[in-house]
């Protein structure tokens, strides 16, 4: 009763949950232009999930699976699937798990060709991230029960929280639910203690999930929508953030009637919603002086897209970050890998895979 009254008062005054505030990008998240300055390895449409499989770097780009050749640099197409690849996971043995809207397929290893279309009776409509937990188990993030991965914007605008995380037994096909009711889990990795870390995009946080206990928030109030994670050499992790939080979007997320009408009448590319890339059309929201001043793009403009990778230490505290700001183009970062003091970053929005020299990051 009291909490209901408090909610009503907060909604009236614009306080508490109704404050519509977002944390600032400063301190360890201080903006820089390292991502834009980094050399591009490959330019392809929508490069996405990066993995290391049997010593080579693989990545997805729309429906194609590519190998990244650092010499050159260039890419080599390895396979084309019938649907857009949503996520990848690789095991040191050479096994590769590929998630698309509706299925998870295994390639290589002892279970080559095996396909999972359901998980405990639920259709695998929206696999967003995968991680091997030993050779026999696969951790699966399901972003939504009803929508496909490409419909992530709609899931956000519907305030979706039907995501879940599963441990899938690759031999038996059975699965154990590790967490349910999540708001678009979009990244998963195992930390040094064997616990599962999951990024929950719409709640802007990273969870630590251990068997038999409730998920614990490792990092909260991230000023963006977190995506996939990968381990860092210092025992911590790299967290990609595919879009920034903006007050306008936060405001729209509180206005149900507005959102419903927007979803009915406006093309998703022009919704007041986060985006993997922006600035391509005059139909987009947030334009004019908010973004450009005297013909120069403002680095601090409140654009809907951004490029950000954060290094977290073992305890989850942000340490440093790599940015492509509002005036940059390498936005919509969804995946990264640390390899030999370089950070390979897939900018899905920017259509490029870049290689950031981590020595430069230490100088910042």
């Amino acid at each position: 009763m009291i909490s209901a009254i408090k909610r009503s008062l907060d909604a009236f005054w614009g306080r508490g949950d109704a404050a519509i505030t977002i944390p600032s990008m400063d301190g360890a998240l201080r903006p820089n232009s390292l991502l834009d300055q980094a050399p591009a390895l490959v330019a392809l449409p929508s490069p996405d999930n990066l993995v290391v499989c049997a010593g080579e770097i693989l990545f997805s780009s729309e429906d194609g699976l590519f190998a990244l050749k650092q010499a050159g640099p260039s890419s080599e197409k390895r396979h084309v699937f019938d649907k857009t690849i949503a996520c990848l996971a690789a095991h040191p043995s050479g096994a590769l798990a590929v998630g698309t809207a509706g299925a998870i397929m295994l390639r290589g290893g002892g279970r080559d060709g095996k396909v999972f279309t359901q998980i405990e009776g639920r259709p695998l409509l929206c696999p967003t991230a995968l991680a091997f937990d030993g050779p026999d188990d696969l951790i699966v993030c399901v972003g939504s029960r009803t929508l496909q991965p490409e419909d992530w914007k709609r899931d956000l605008m519907q305030l979706g929280s039907s995501g879940s995380v599963w441990r899938l037994d690759l031999d038996k096909g059975s699965a154990v639910c590790l967490a349910d009711g999540l708001a678009f889990p979009y990244g998963v990795m195992l930390d040094s203690s064997g616990a599962v870390r999951v990024s929950e995009s719409w709640r802007h946080r990273v969870l630590r999930i251990e068997a038999g206990s409730a998920p614990e928030t490792l990092v909260g109030d991230i000023p963006g929508y977190p995506a996939r994670m990968s381990p860092s050499a210092d025992g911590g992790s790299w967290l990609t953030v595919f879009a920034p939080r903006r007050q306008m979007v936060e405001f729209v997320l509180r206005e149900r009637a507005y959102r419903e009408r927007m979803m009915r009448e406006v093309h998703p590319n022009y919704w007041m919603a986060p985006a993997l890339r922006s600035g391509g059309s005059f139909l987009e929201p947030i334009q004019g002086g908010a973004v450009r001043h005297l013909g120069i793009s403002k680095a601090w403009a409140p654009t809907r897209s951004y490029g950000l990778v954060i290094r977290l230490d073992a305890t989850g505290s942000p340490m440093v970050s790599v940015h492509s700001r509002a005036d940059g183009v390498r936005h919509g970062v969804t995946s990264c890998l640390e390899i030999e003091n370089r950070l390979i970053v897939a900018c899905k929005g920017g259509g490029v895979i870049a290689s950031v020299d981590l020595n430069e990051l230490d100088k910042e």
Binding site: W13, G14, R15, G16, A19, I20, T21, I22, P23, S24, D26, G27, A28, R30, P31, D221, Q247, H293, L294, K298, A299, W300, K363, E364
Partner: protein, 497 residues
């Protein structure tokens, strides 16, 4: 050589302690003379003797060759010597015209006639001030204009300015300097006290430097440069201590102490967001009116944010909303004001009482009754710790120089055992020697693990002190720089565009 004022071996003692010792000073006719020195060097005392505010203990003063001794400022004014104090002596509730003619009113006054006369007079000086305007609503520069107009109207021969530019914006300063030139063209001589050495070098014809109440040097401005002035003022090279630590390593951030999210207050603070970390000095630069002070005051509970959608302030992960400063102080937030004379201390109270008042405000005092010995003991610790130069801790704060007053304000804040301390223009109106000492105090606080915020309009100070530099514009933080990245040009660009 045509001396207008000549001070010969002038000495002034307060309670047996000399503030000025055997000083010789000559003001030539039709010159701008800069009087420089650290706080406590005796500049104000010397000029106060000239203006009749106080009288010399020894020595004599000649005005146009005649020996004079003024018993009051009114007497000095009658002889053509006016002094414009740092805090203007205008009556805020009266109009500009009324202030200009204050003390000169007839038995029956026609307000319209007064305004017309004031307007004509202001126009003759080329001062763009509305005579009908209420002084309370004027900016610092326009108040200075009214003050100057009032002095010039008395047909004075000498105007003494005490720190006239301390509270002016860069544009206002520019305007003020052109006023000085115009007043000089009318045959008025000017004595100009300032801590801004560049201003003295730019505007004056001659410079006199005082140190510890004694004359150190007096010569044509062309014979001085910044280095020689500083050396004359403090008696040692200070360039190595001041504004030259750009190549130092920035402190690593500790835990996030403060997170300000979309803070709003009227037109002054608009959607302001930033964080402050323990063990670091967070420098905030911005032009006047960029909302830095208002943001700091909202955080510390001195001002209130917007009632509707005013944003949030998180202190150590807890949302806080202070309506008065007391709970903020209790939670460890301390704001050191930019306007120390108005908000920083009780000027008639002693150093000890002022410092103890800080303790009382934080509710850290023990027991209902407090002995004066206890108050003095606490004060003595801080007087020693912060090198506050005073006869003893029972001296009134009003008797102290600006730098020492600032140290008292800092001491009364530090006794509150803050976790987050916000310094707003910590070295405004403070001499170079005290600046170096205050900078050391601020740096030590950060080294001790406190979260420190320094708000300053002076770029070298921000560049020298800060571990991270935030730039404020139009009521919000628009950019952050590391000390390595930051240059004056980059910071200024972010502050303006």
């Amino acid at each position: 050589m045509d001396p207008l004022i000549e001070m010969q071996r002038v000495t002034k003692e307060y309670r047996g302690v000399p503030a000025v010792k055997n000083v010789d000073f000559i003001l030539q006719r039709n010159e701008v003379h800069a009087l420089l020195g650290e706080n406590g060097a005796g500049k104000s005392t010397l000029t106060k003797i000239m203006a009749g505010v106080t009288q010399a203990t020894e020595g004599r003063m000649l005005l146009e060759g005649r020996e004079v001794s003024f018993a009051s400022p009114a007497e000095a004014l009658g002889q053509g010597v006016a002094m414009v104090f740092q805090e203007t002596s205008l009556v805020p509730s009266m109009t500009v015209a009324q202030n200009i003619y204050l003390g000169d009113e007839k038995f029956f006054n026609r307000l319209r006639g007064l305004n017309i006369a004031a307007q004509q007079f202001l126009q003759s000086l080329n001062f763009n001030v509305d005579p009908w305007a209420n002084v309370a609503g004027l900016g610092a520069a326009k108040r200075q204009m009214v003050e100057i107009a009032r002095a010039v109207r008395q047909n004075v021969k000498v105007i003494i300015f005490d720190e006239p530019t301390a509270s002016l914006t860069p544009e206002e300063k520019h305007h003020f300097f052109s006023l000085i030139k115009r007043v000089k063209e009318r045959g008025v001589s000017i004595i100009f006290i300032s801590h801004a050495l560049e201003e003295a070098l730019a505007i004056s014809d001659r410079i006199t430097i005082l140190r510890d109440g004694e004359l150190v040097a007096t010569d044509l401005t062309s014979k001085f440069n910044r280095e020689t002035i500083i050396q004359g003022m403090v008696g040692r090279q200070l360039s190595g201590e001041l504004y030259s630590r750009k190549d130092r390593t920035a402190r690593k951030p500790g835990a996030k102490v403060l997170s300000v999210q979309n803070l709003s207050m009227g037109a002054m603070v608009r959607n302001n967001s930033f964080s402050v970390y323990a063990g670091q000095i967070t420098g905030v630069f911005g032009l006047i009116g960029s909302g830095r002070t208002e943001t700091a005051k909202i955080i510390a509970g001195v001002q209130k944010r917007n009632a509707f959608y005013g944003g949030e302030v998180w202190l150590n992960g807890r949302a806080v909303r202070y309506r008065v400063p007391a709970p903020a102080v209790h939670d460890g937030i301390v704001y050191v004001t930019e306007d120390r004379k108005l908000e920083g201390f009780f000027e008639t109270q002693s150093i000890a009482e002022n410092i103890y008042t800080g303790l009382l405000a934080a509710n850290l005092n023990t027991g209902l009754l407090v002995g004066m010995g206890q108050i003095k003991e606490l004060a003595d610790q801080w007087v020693k710790g912060l090198s506050i130069r005073a006869i003893d801790s029972n001296a009134s704060v009003i008797e102290l120089s600006g730098g020492n007053q600032q140290k008292v304000v800092i001491a009364s804040s530090l006794v509150q055992r803050p976790k987050l301390i916000i310094f707003d223009e910590p070295t405004r109106g403070v001499d170079v020697g005290a600046i170096a000492e205050i900078h050391q105090v601020i740096a030590k606080l950060a080294d001790d693990g406190l979260a420190v915020v320094v708000i300053s309009s002076y770029l070298p100070e921000i560049l020298n002190l800060s571990d991270r530099i935030l730039v404020s514009r139009l009521g919000r933080i628009v950019e952050e720089f590391s000390p390595k990245q930051a240059t004056e040009a980059k910071i200024m660009y972010a502050a303006v565009h």
